[in-house]
């Protein structure tokens, strides 16, 4: 079953994201490490430019610079997700999807963790309802992202809202929040660009995986999870400028570790909720900032 303990061969780090148990007959021909599908939605860092960015000082955005900024910010995250895209493509074919279906899964679903879970269930000849349930559980965190961005995106036209929703991933959310934190403004164009570039890379990686098939390079051994950790650290730590945020981060960190240590399912969701409530409770005592 999903979200259960991973097979021993799988790195525990991988479990930080999406816990997938791919140990079914159909897939068991693959090397053990390939089961370590801890899918990673890698994140990038959004704010690479200096404090006094053009976005901050004027409301007439320089689109050219915005494009470059978006590309620079999403690039590390997009590169970090390449191995997972490759894995997704090759496992999909392995599980019995046609190459066209494997590609369309990335084109339409565009959710690494949900795709890998779905693929593993398809490979195990699981039921459609179990696939859809796992998709729902894994995708639930996106509800949170859309709630956070609601006030920024809702005034936009239908086309913008649909497009931004379609490209809303962990990575796009992270760089968007970092952009907002830095420039105190939400840029639909910036977010759309980061989302689209990430989409492009994800699908190219999937394509490579479909083509490569079983000739997978030893991607699991590279420690790619660390790229994700580094990016998230670079985004989160600078945001810790008040006691409520510090409280949220500490509470979320402790909860995430506890969930992992005691093998509690859905640790990501639980830790996020605990962090948010903790931040809120601390904020009731006043928004003390120290910078």
């Amino acid at each position: 079953m999903l979200w259960g303990p991973l097979p021993g061969a799988i790195s525990n780090r991988a479990r930080s994201y999406y816990k997938l148990n791919l140990s079914n007959d159909k897939l068991s021909g693959l090397k053990a490490k390939e089961f370590a599908i801890a899918k990673v939605d890698i994140v990038s860092d959004p704010s690479t430019s200096n404090e006094t960015g053009v976005f901050e000082t004027s409301h007439s955005f320089d689109n050219h610079r915005l494009v470059i900024q978006a590309a620079m910010d999403i690039l590390p995250l997009a590169l970090a997700v390449v191995p997972w895209g490759v894995l997704c493509g090759s496992l999909a074919v392995e599980a019995g999807l046609t190459p066209l279906q494997a590609q369309f899964m990335s084109l339409l679903v565009f959710a690494g963790a949900a795709q890998l879970a779905g693929i593993s269930i398809i490979g195990a000849a699981g039921s459609l309802s179990s696939i859809l349930m796992s998709t729902g559980v894994i995708s639930a965190r996106h509800l949170l992202y859309s709630a956070v961005l609601r006030d920024d995106i809702r005034p936009l036209s239908l086309a913008w809202r649909v497009a931004l929703a379609f490209f809303l991933t962990d990575e796009m959310f992270a760089v968007t929040m970092a952009f907002k934190a830095r420039y105190k403004v939400f840029s639909p164009l910036y977010s759309l660009l980061t989302g689209f570039l990430f989409y492009l890379v994800w699908n190219l990686a999937t394509f490579a995986g479909i083509m490569a098939g079983k000739l997978l390079p030893d991607l699991q051994q590279l420690g790619l999870e660390f790229a994700i950790a580094a990016t998230f650290i670079a985004i989160v730590v600078p945001q810790i400028r008040s006691f409520p945020v510090l409280g949220a981060v500490i509470a979320s960190a402790v909860t995430a570790l506890a969930c992992q240590y005691f093998n509690i399912n859905n640790g990501l969701v639980i830790a996020t909720a605990v962090g948010m409530v903790s931040g809120f409770l601390v904020s009731l005592k006043g928004e003390d900032t120290w910078t």
Binding site: N12, D45, T48, P76, I122, I233, V237, S252
Partner: protein, 109 residues
């Protein structure tokens, strides 16, 4: 329709629905004060819940205790870097460099 095509389309529907729900105009309610304040802490909370286990949990599911773990060493180094400079790309680049260096020093590569 092929069951796999159907699966893909339904999965796409679910993932899109989760991403779009709160952006829909049809949903007219206003998020209440406490909820809004909690949402301010969503980004740091969810990102922390993702990176902390990578840095502080060992492959065996134990808390990292030794200094022979490149994830722990480079993770602490990256945190220190992020306190010194706010340029994300510098932190990420040097952080990954630290990780590679730690692996080399520890003889893992």
């Amino acid at each position: 329709m092929d069951i796999i095509w159907l699966t893909i389309v339904l999965m796409a529907g679910i993932t899109f629905y989760c991403r779009y729900l709160f952006l829909a105009n049809a949903l007219t309610f206003k998020l209440g004060g406490p909820i809004k304040r909690m949402l301010q802490f969503a980004a740091p909370s969810v990102l922390t819940a993702m990176w902390v286990p990578i840095v502080f949990m060992s492959d065996e599911g134990q808390l990292t205790s030794g200094l022979d773990d490149p994830f722990l060493l480079a993770g602490i180094g990256t945190i220190a870097l992020s306190l010194v400079t706010r340029k994300t790309i510098v932190v990420v680049g040097l952080g990954i460099g630290l990780f590679v260096a730690a692996k080399m020093v520890l003889g893992e590569i």
